[in-house]
């Protein structure tokens, strides 16, 4: 049984890692097509890639698109999810199927719809694309944030903060957000990955006018497979780095965010005060 377990796990790991490993090897290979192993190894594809200003520009464009859209998602969507979950739970039954719509609408349909509606209007196409991507983030963010809210009983925390004198906005920022940050981070990570690697909408709405990393990758793939592999590996490493950064930020040591208290006062042997002294202090 133990061996069977190991075999299953090994197959799974191989299935997940082998394509990445082969792509990695291919990105360093001088040539790999006529024999089982590459004929030699080189850094020249990476050097060629990093010297290409169009590659750097593509990465920056992808980052810009991702960061702007993710920012909008965090500012608009997260409070909306919390608002519905805490104060308007009866509307959750409408919200839930709505956020799952992006799974049902193919990218082509969404892109065509957006283009027909907005291409001859006043809205910049970058904003149209960002808006389209925003819709794609709904399922990731909704599931993550909703689960976090349920886990911490967000409604009760908000009520407790309000009864203690906090405004709704203050309670949301100081109490709710820090306690659902894991959900927000997970949702952000998934959204970031989806946005950064998005191809269909970007290609159809902006295409060559706004070459993102995925469009660049497609163009390079037609020219040179080794170069394309090095783009893939760079893209992967970049995503891992961003993910690690977000996880690191998430795990920053808990800070006391309300009132810094004096340790000496807390640890000193305070004389037991009579009730009236405490209340009339």
């Amino acid at each position: 049984m133990r061996n069977v377990n190991r075999l299953i796990i090994s197959l799974f790991v191989a299935f997940m890692c082998l394509p990445i490993l082969i792509t990695l090897v291919y990105s360093f290979a001088t040539e790999w097509g006529k024999s089982i192993f590459p004929s030699g190894y080189t850094f020249k594809w990476y050097l060629q890639l990093y010297k290409d200003p169009q590659f750097i520009a593509a990465i920056l464009r992808s980052l810009l698109l991702t960061v702007v859209t993710l920012g909008a998602v965090l500012v608009i969507l997260v409070p909306s999810i919390a608002l519905v979950a805490i104060y308007l739970p009866k509307y959750d039954r409408f919200f839930k199927p709505t956020v799952l719509l992006p799974y049902a609408i193919p990218g082509v349909v969404l892109a065509t719809g957006l283009m027909r509606t907005y291409t001859n209007g006043f809205v910049p196409l970058f904003a149209v694309l960002s808006g389209g991507l925003f819709i794609y983030s709904l399922p990731f963010m909704y599931q993550s944030v909703r689960s976090s809210l349920q886990e911490i009983d967000g409604a009760r925390l908000m009520e407790a903060a309000e009864v203690l004198g906090a405004s709704k906005v203050y309670a949301f920022i100081r109490i709710l957000l820090p306690n659902i940050k894991i959900g927000i981070m997970v949702g952000s990570l998934l959204t970031f990955s989806a946005f950064f690697g998005e191809f269909q909408l970007t290609n159809m709405i902006l295409g060559g006018d706004f070459e993102t990393i995925r469009i660049y990758m497609l163009r390079v793939m037609k020219v040179n497979g080794h170069l394309s592999s090095s783009v893939v590996m760079t893209y992967l490493i970049l995503l891992i780095m961003v993910s690690a950064l977000i996880v690191k930020v998430t795990n920053i040591n808990r800070k006391r965010i309300i009132v810094p208290h004096d340790e000496a006062a807390l640890n000193s042997n305070v004389k037991r005060s009579p009730a009236n002294e405490l209340l009339n202090h």
């Binding site: 009760r156 407790a160 009864v163 006391r256 009132v259 208290h261 807390l266 305070v270």
Partner: protein, 334 residues
Amino acid sequence: MSYLTIENLNLELGGKMILTDLNLSIEKGQLISLLGPSGCGKSTLLRGISGLNSIKSGKVMIDGQDITKLAPKKREVGMVFQSYALFPNLTVADNVAFGLAMKRVKKDAVNKKVAQILELVGLEDKAKSYPSELSGGQQQRVALARSIVVEPKVLLLDEPLSALDAQIRRQLRLELCRLQRKLGITMIFVTHDQEEAMTISDRIFVMHKGKIAQEGTPSEVYFHPQNEFVAGFIGNYNKLNKMQVEQLFGSLDKDGSTYVLRPEAIDFTPQAHAVSVVGQIIERHILGNVVRCTVQTQHGTLWVDRINQGQAELDESKDVTLFIRQEDVVTLHQ
């Protein structure tokens, strides 16, 4: 005038009336319990007082001020939740300091008050711990400290002990009582546990279907339940009809059609002004310090409670004579 007054309160949730024409008044410094089964509206009433549920009509007054329309943060009431609702991202000290920070109390004063209140609830060594590092009992103490430290006019406790195990629950119940007496806070305690309500309350408000079914001191409610619901909820009374009572006592100088008789009021030894009834013990259950006998008499079945001293005469199938005093029979109003 009472310290807290609720007049003709109507509260609706999701299109359903939860509280209807509810009236209630509490004196300053009292600990009162809202007692009733699940769904009777006791927690909703608490949330109405705190402002967490909006009131359809009626008035809530605290210390002469009408707070009916005020936001929760302006009502100066504290609330302890069943699930504690401690802020997981804040230490114990910061949780307790939160309300003071909202009141813009100076840092030094906050530190001093937090230290004092934590000492009062016996958690001075847990100031820097996070809620997740505390036991359920400790978490509830923190929740209590957090609500008390802001000196609320009224402290609302929504089944604060129900998530705790029996032993901790009994201990915290007594601590809560002591704290209330010491600080003189007006408290409203929601519970569905009649023993809990009897133990801690100055007055009990028994709730049923969104209304107050009866109010009174624990003794008044226990010895003189006014209606069938209260009698059924508060204790294990013997329920008698008019014919049974007339068979027992001949004529009866009490109006009504339904009566109750406490099981412990029936005696096995002769009592002054008591009538005797012969019967047989058909069942016997030991409830810890009390033994409950089910006695079959010619007038029906009666429960009789006695202190459990291992009495052999209370064994099943034993013939017994019961002594019942007419003054122990309570008339119920419909």
